[in-house]
Amino acid sequence: MDFLYTIWIPLIPFLLFLLIGLTGMYFKPIVSGIVGTVGLGVITLLSFITAYQYFFVDGMVDGVYQKIVAGSYTWLAFTDTLHIDMGVMLDPIAVMMLLVVSIVSFMVHIYSLGYMKGEKGFSRFYAFLSLFTFSMLGLVVATNIFQMYIFWELVGVSSFLLIGFYYDKPSAVAASKKAFIVTRFADFGFLVGLLLLSYITGTFDFKTLTSPEGIETIRGAGLTFMGASAVTWAMLLIFMGGAGKSAMFPLHIWLPDAMEGPTPVSALIHAATMVVAGVYLVARLFPVFIMVTPESLNVIAYIGGFTSLFAAVIACTQFDIKRVLAFSTLSQIGYMMLALGVSGYGEHGLGFTASMFHLSTHAMFKALLFLGAGAIIHAVHSNYMYEMGGLRKYLPITHLTFLIACLTIAGVPPLSGFWSKDEILAAAWHHDKLLFFIEFAVAGLTAFYMFRLYFSVFWGKETHYHHTPHESPLTMTIPLMLLAVASIFAGFIPFGEFVSSDGIPHHGEIHMNIAVPSVAIGLLGILVALLMYRRETTVPDRIAKALGGFYRTVYHKFYIDEVYLFVTKKIIFNLISRPVAWFDRHLVDGTMNKVAWVVEFSSYRTRQLQSGQLQHYAVFFVAGVLVLVLTFAYFLF
């Protein structure tokens, strides 16, 4: 049995996008929602079938999971080897991502039926969701790096459209622009990198690139530039694209602002799927990274580690619940990047497996957190936790599922976050002790800020609400419950059996010497949060005061945004754009205006030649002949 049917997985949402986008306005809004949701249900089902068939029936040959091209169409052929295809390629990480994307997208589709009810542009929202799902699935199954790049830009566009969904709100517009510009800037690096890589290797194809022969060709390329080989530069530039999409420091600034979009969008795009595209990209090219330029993996590991610490610290000071979650996302993606960075290959590929494992568990519990936050915001109409408190009575289901998600992210066994985080910490321990201790500290911080959030929202002092908050409708709570179940049990999947850097199943084990301390520090974080936020006390304020300048710096996210503004507004605008604009206005336009003036003037003059007198015409005619004769017959010959 072949996998040809899998081409429908990306195609269906594309058709849904066309259908809803073109005809949505002719029906009641709810029709668009239901059509989109049913379509996503079909895709989810197909993804499960694909996963079953791949992992248990057809995927493995001689004990190795193969890269299977289910269908491919040559779109542009440059040379025999260098051609851009559009197709579907299945391998363990692609199949895993298919599952993650379709499940979360399906949940978000159901959830939005309730959350977005009555919003203006309801069917537009579903059209954009379908467009995003199409782009993301196309990215995941890409057979070659150029197809990936095309879909990469498409997810960027759909993210832009969805962040700016409330286009009459200036902050949403600004946020969507910021997200687009920052990621687009990073994508420029990706494009240059992939062109460089294809120049070196003569192919775009992932299967060829990551095969042993492909690796040999890449290794053979002797080009160097500024002390590093051209391949290293190419891979780092490609990573730059990944860092932009996955919001790694210093390209992280767009993600917190992206929370201006509707909350289901934050859950789908900015927590579970699109933002991990950068991790997926590195994982996709992992054999090239590890075999050809292991030094660039070090860069990746440190950027990931730094981002996770940096974001966790900021998360402890934020009051907007979606922003806390956004910084938490940054921090968790940092974990995944770090895990890839510290991974070895084959037998030593624990980090790779751990990264992918954490990617899937994180997708479930972070989507759950965001959807829960959406339910809270839905109930109290505010984003700020100081306007909440004591909500556990009013929102029992949301409370319970949110608690589960918080425990999961804090790494409390036996919930899924524990298992994946444990593997990452173990991988870090074997590779680099410094990185291990950073992540160890982040584990504590994570537990602290998540429970700071949890206690302030559901416990603490009850704020006076304008109207009694009430639990969300079933369309919203059912996805919460399903995701909670997934968050609890996803950890029991023997992930190493399915996903590994070389396709050969590896047996995972629990590392007690690491698990015990990391659980302990997680519990410690929870305990501190419990003491500080269980009841309303003055302790947090006093601590903030005591930390003084440091607290303010953290609260303002280390002023990174201000630095960017300074660089763009003060330096680029004033020192580069203004002179260029002046040059354009005065020299370029000025020259053109002068030319136009000369034309106008000479036109006025020459018109007077045309007198209307036939005699004059005859004189001109004869004179013309004479001049030609004199010039050409006598002077030139």
């Binding site: 036109s603 020459t606 018109r607 001109f620 005619f621 030139l636």
Partner: protein, 476 residues
């Protein structure tokens, strides 16, 4: 010579038959039914046009005075299409009361000049060439003066006949020098004996000046604007498209088949004339307000661009020139068609009168816009390809500076073409031209122009066919 050979001249024979039938109608159709002459004439001409597309043989007649081949047949077909469009466009104007008396006159004169052009294109010696040329010119003066009670029309006729006489005189003088120095008037023999003697060069320059008048190259162009403005607008369209096209056809054929020896000379001459023509015509066109004068100068500028094509050598040169004329027939007649239609309904012929036209007559405005874009050479319409091939042709011989100047001129021309577009689409007017519905024949003609403007650009085999035809011509 037997009868089958006689039919090598199919185009001319059919056209003569049409002319005779129209003459008979003129005699036998009563006063009440004169309007019927119009559709019947158009129908007859349509038949002869269609018959022109039947497969044709190459060959020669009358001891090589007359010759024909695939490329010449294509040229005649292009002219036929153009004349058909002109006939459709002028039907509404002819139906007017004051013109009904002389309907058949219009057709007779016009088709006679066409016969002249056909013989001119097919000529194999200078005698036939000159006869064809005069047959194409002298009746034209009558056509320009068709509105004989209108002063400007009469003036146009007089100006045309005098200027034409002067240019024919110069041309004939040049031909006599060539005859004197080579001893023959047959193209093949002249080509064999042509050298660079001063008398021959002088004769050639006179010939070129005479042709420059027909094609209206600067500085032999002065008659153009006055005649174009004075003549009835349908006649103007005929003059600017059909007779100019025919003159360019024979001019390029003669240059390549009779004067290849003088190629270095005429390359330089054309270089200078092309720059003069493009630049001066553009400078004139920028300031025109009358749409007919405006189109006159635009057509002079287009002639300058055509010279660039000729400079690319026999093969590429002929192909690009014929292709460009085909494009030019559709686009320029499209622009004229809109102007004719508006002039017929309202009598308005100034660019200012077009203000706000889009609001009242959107279809006409869009057609005009398309035609102007094509004239300016904006992709994807055919005019872009036409101009592109002309420039390629000149660039293939290394005339990069000339191409650069041409591109600058194309930019200037864009300015004045867009002026008309701006008037139609952007300018507001208190008294815009009222909405009206053109007659069926006008609409058919405009539809043909629009279709041609797109089709010629997109259907690649047209260019390839012409390319093959010219190739066959020069392999012997």
């Amino acid at each position: 010579m037997d009868l089958s050979q006689f039919f090598i001249m199919r185009h001319e024979v059919l056209l003569l038959a049409v002319i005779i039938l129209i003459l008979l109608m003129e005699i036998f159709v009563g006063k009440a039914n004169r309007k019927a002459i119009i559709p019947v004439s158009i129908g007859l001409f349509l038949l002869s046009t269609l018959a022109g597309f039947l497969p044709a043989e190459s060959g020669q007649l009358f001891g090589d005075m007359y010759r024909t081949n695939g490329l010449i047949v294509s040229m005649k077909n292009i002219l036929n299409i153009g004349v058909l469009i002109v006939m459709l466009l002028s039907a509404e104007w002819l139906r007017k009361e004051e013109n009904l008396d002389k309907v058949s006159e219009y057709y007779l004169i016009m088709l006679s000049t066409l016969v002249g052009m056909f013989y001119m294109i097919s000529s194999g010696d200078f005698l036939m060439f000159y006869l064809g040329l005069e047959l194409a010119s002298i009746p034209m003066a009558a056509l320009a003066a068709y509105d004989k009670f209108r002063n400007s029309s009469a003036e146009a006729g007089i100006k045309f006949i005098f200027s034409s006489a002067l240019s024919s005189g110069v041309l004939l003088y040049g031909l006599s020098m060539i005859y004197a120095s080579t001893g023959s008037i047959y193209f093949t023999e002249v080509a064999a004996h042509m050298g660079e003697q001063p008398l021959q060069v002088l004769g050639f320059i006179f010939f070129l000046a005479g042709m420059g008048f027909k094609i209206s190259l600067v500085p032999f162009h002065f008659w153009t604007a006055d005649v174009y403005e004075g003549a009835p607008i349908s006649v103007t369209s005929y003059l600017s498209v059909i007779s100019k096209g025919a003159a360019i056809f024979i001019f390029s054929i003669v240059l390549f088949s009779v004067f290849p020896m003088l190629e270095p000379l005429w390359q330089e001459l054309l270089y200078v004339l092309a720059i003069l023509t493009m630049t001066l015509a553009n400078l004139f066109a920028v300031r025109q307000n009358n749409i007919k004068r405006f189109l006159a100068f635009s057509s002079i500028a287009q002639a300058g661009f055509i010279l660039l094509g000729i400079m690319g050598g026999p093969h590429l040169g002929l192909t690009t020139v014929v292709y460009f004329i085909l494009v030019y027939v559709f686009t320029n007649l499209g622009a004229f068609g809109v102007a004719i239609s508006i002039s017929d309904k309202t009598g308005k012929e100034n660019i200012n009168d077009y203000n706000g036209l889009y609001k009242t007559n959107p279809m006409l405005s869009l057609t005009m816009m398309l035609a102007l874009f094509s004239l300016a050479g904006i992709p994807p319409v055919a005019g872009f390809f036409g101009k592109f091939f002309l420039f390629t042709s000149a660039a293939s011989k290394g005339y990069y500076i000339l191409v650069l100047i041409a591109v600058l001129n194309a930019t200037i021309s864009l300015y004045y073409y867009l002026r008309v577009v701006k008037a139609m689409f952007i300018e507001k007017s208190d008294h815009p031209i009222a909405p009206f519905r053109s007659s069926l024949s006008t609409r058919m003609a405009l539809a043909l122009c629009v279709a041609g403007t797109f089709a010629v650009g997109f259907i690649s085999w047209i260019y390839e066919y012409l390319y093959d035809m010219t190739y066959l011509l020069f392999i012997f």
